[in-house]
Symmetry: C2
Subunit: 135 residues, 2 copies
């Protein structure tokens, strides 16, 4: 296993990333980093986040309708995505996977490894915006 080094860039990227609580995409992290530290390249940001996801220190989310998002929250949880603005929030929901599987038809030939849930809806801010537009 390749040995990792600590670099100035790594420090900055993860500091900025951990201050964002929006489940940002790599592009969003790059934007935020770039504002303060224009010398840091896009490739570095993408690479650092992808690597961190591979070693498991962050989560890389593949949500429908959106670019990959990165999440500091580890452990089993789900997400809700705002259909209007794309905002993402963590959701904790106890899902009885065994019970679901027992009643699931069509995956008998599969060795099921995981069940993932994703919620969609309208976030508070967008509800207000949409309400205002109506009136």
């Amino acid at each position: 296993m390749k040995q990792k080094r600590n670099t100035v860039q790594k420090g900055i990227v993860f500091e900025v990333f951990r201050e964002m609580h929006n489940h940002p995409s790599a592009g969003m992290v790059y934007e935020a980093v770039h504002e303060k530290y224009p010398e840091i390249s896009k490739a570095t940001v993408y690479r650092l986040l992808a690597e961190a996801a591979e070693e498991g220190s962050v989560l890389r989310l593949k949500l429908a309708d959106a670019d990959d998002r990165y999440d500091v929250t580890l452990g089993r949880h789900y997400h809700i995505v705002c259909k209007s603005c794309g905002a993402v929030a963590d959701v904790e929901a106890s899902l009885n996977e065994k019970a679901v599987l027992k009643r699931a038809k069509g995956c008998e030939n599969f060795l099921v490894e995981d069940i993932h849930m994703e919620f969609t809806g309208i976030c508070e801010r967008c509800q207000q915006t949409l309400d205002n537009q109506k009136n």
Copy 2:
């Protein structure tokens, strides 16, 4: 509303698409169409499928880890994706959404519109392949 026309291309694309029971991506449909009818362009295939999804005659699936897939099966159902080869199969699972929502924490500020489930696993064919590799 724009009025639609029937064209030779439309006929061919959907005929080929409906013969594929793989939940193909637009690219896969294009490949299959292209084999038999090389005159039909990629843009047309992408456009036709996207339009059909918009009018609701097919489903456009946004699955994690894969390109958008198109599905002839309408109505509420879920999908299982093979982690190894990307194969997609339909799954029917009765999910008590109200019960799930009642126990979900983190989406209180959202107007929840939908809950989506996605299963991942290893398909039968890949299980065999992997088994053979072991021995």
